[in-house]
Symmetry: none
Subunit: 205 residues, 4 copies
DNA sequence: GATGAATGAGACTTCATTCAT
DNA sequence: TATGAATGAAGTCTCATTCAT
């Protein structure tokens, strides 16, 4: 832990700067100042600016992935899973606003950079894994017949909009106040017609 | 028209560059090269870089606004309006991918710039006008009781996700293939419980 | 002339700096200071450091080429030509010590740079043109039978050594004091056995 | 020997890097990577970059000196000596291309560095020792009356040009193919008029 | 209106060197 | 002896902007 301290403090400082000024506007010198490290140390550990961003992005995806995986492995009915994803997403954003801002606001900029392809492929892994789960649910008849790419969009899209507004300070109150309504709406938008809220969902007779 | 030609060609070139490289990565010199104008001419017409972005943003909002206004003024039932917003949004993105990329991908970056506040307030005008309409519908009982900010998020959020994926080339086929499913889902997610698709929606007895 | 002034003054300053500190040790800032131009102006005209060096190298080759071409076109007998090349070379070095230092001292460094291949090919052109002339003389029987690449080495090599020593300040007196002995020696080293100094050389009966 | 191994492996790696990238362009880190040593180890053994270059240069001169001394001590007639110097030089270059490249290509750069004066004086020693021998020969009447500095230039200059071309890959075939013609030419360029190849040279009656 | 040379602040990065372990 | 994290001066280059013609 003491060993990793410098590298970690640089990443921490970088995240802080990205939140404060945005990814593009953050200079190496800002990170240097915020981290207390020297320029040389920054480059010793990361090689260049882009790799600092990349390392942070990777760590963000890893952390976020843990939450979503939890939602899938813990819950058993389809409805529970759909709700868990929405709640899990909003919960994570509420607790990790800086990571969320960085991850979701800057995705485009990060993927446009030199390490974009590498990071994109890691992202694609997450997406495809999730996609497999949704499709399985659809096969079981718990979800309406909807083009596959729409399912995650319907479940996560509105929550993302709300989260974005909240992160930008355009929303009063706690982010989690919107969790239940959004989870309910997500479920309504994707559930099969013969299923209503409160039914068992998956594993029906 | 011939007089305005130079100014327009600069804006056109700027939009092209923003699509190609992103807003932040686009330099004055790229726009100069793409437009065929001289640096001096660029500054003569726009004063500085930020004002090129601003002018483009304004024009984008204006164009997009026309479509959405159409959806509201033409249609009469709530369901029709909800569906029209989704369809209108996706239709506009499909026909104006460059404008869409610029407007939705780069919103954060644009608002972070020096003219951000000005542009934000123009945006806020649009949003608040729309909000008023949704709230009216809610008052009439056509929409479920949902926190107000969720309504546009539910209607537009999933469409935005799909549009983003399509613009990034992650989606096969035509964007409009997803329009009907998304419209249907949007309506399901916000409609009042005693209303089903096909009912009259607003102005019921 | 007034128009080209800036670009030329930069090149002039660069040559001065190269003489003073060597090519590698010369920084953009030194050239900026010596030329009186701004950094921006430097980059406006040349794009990068390497292209300043390249432009200078090209100009140097051009100037030097004029002298050597003169030696070949003016003189008629082989002996006269051999002597003219040695004398012309030393004369040019004596009159253009800065160009000479840059051209001959830094050839390796220049060719190792990014524009190396381009410059190398220009150099190769000069060399091959000259080679053709020597070979013609050899065919005529004025020169001994020597491997072709040795001929220019024998004629120019010693003069280059002397010039290098003189440029480095290791030689007392005027460079041209060594011209006649070196010309004589060059001719002795390459002339055919039945030809002695003062004979007609080429076009003998 | 095992003790010295590390130091030697660093020097060996340095020579490799100098050949590959040139002296100026070689960084401490390149040598570290090529040698397998750590940065700390490099500095422990040599103190700084310049001293690595210096140590290598010294070793190169020492090795090359052995060959040339051989030419002078073994052979007795002037002609034999002149020829031996040319042959010895080319033979050494052919067998030690990396050392040759370093020693002759980078001489200027090395002498321009902080340890330049020290190395220059060592070089000057070699040169003056050799000069004494040539002058003695001249006094004996074996060599033509030529300005003293021209003698080594005439003997070694052409061979250096050929060696440079060969090291740069501009020459096909073996370097030693050019040895005999160059030795013959060197002797012709400096021998006294009443001496022809095969005469006794020195020690005539 | 149009042009493009000129400007300079400031960004990123390299690299020799030091020093605690 | 060996290691490699840490340092920071110094270099190259970019780019928005100004201004004389």
């Amino acid at each position: 832990m003491a060993r990793e301290s410098r590298k970690d403090s640089i990443l921490k400082a970088a995240l802080f700067c990205f939140t404060e000024h945005g990814v593009e506007a953050t200079t190496i010198d800002m990170i240097r100042e915020a981290s207390g490290a020297s320029i040389g140390s920054l480059y010793h550990h990361f090689g260049n600016r882009e790799r600092i961003i990349g390392a942070l992005y990777l760590e963000g995806i890893r952390r976020y992935g843990l939450v979503l995986n939890g939602a899938f492995t813990t819950d058993s009915t389809t409805e529970q899973r759909v709700r868990s994803v929405v709640l899990g997403y909003l919960g994570w954003v509420a607790e990790n606003p800086d990571w969320a801002r960085f991850l979701f606001n800057s995705r485009g900029q990060v993927e446009a950079g030199p390490l974009g392809d590498e990071l994109k492929s890691i992202n694609a892994l997450h997406v495809s894994r999730m996609k497999a789960v949704w499709e399985e649910m659809q096969t079981h008849g718990d979800l309406r017949t909807i083009p596959a790419p729409c399912i995650p969009a319907l479940i996560t899209g509105p929550a993302q909009e709300i989260a974005k507004a909240w992160l930008a300070g355009r929303l009063k109150g706690a982010l989690l106040d919107y969790a239940e309504p959004l989870a309910e709406a997500a479920w309504r938008s994707v559930r099969a017609d013969d299923i209503s809220s409160g039914d068992e969902g998956r594993f029906r007779a």
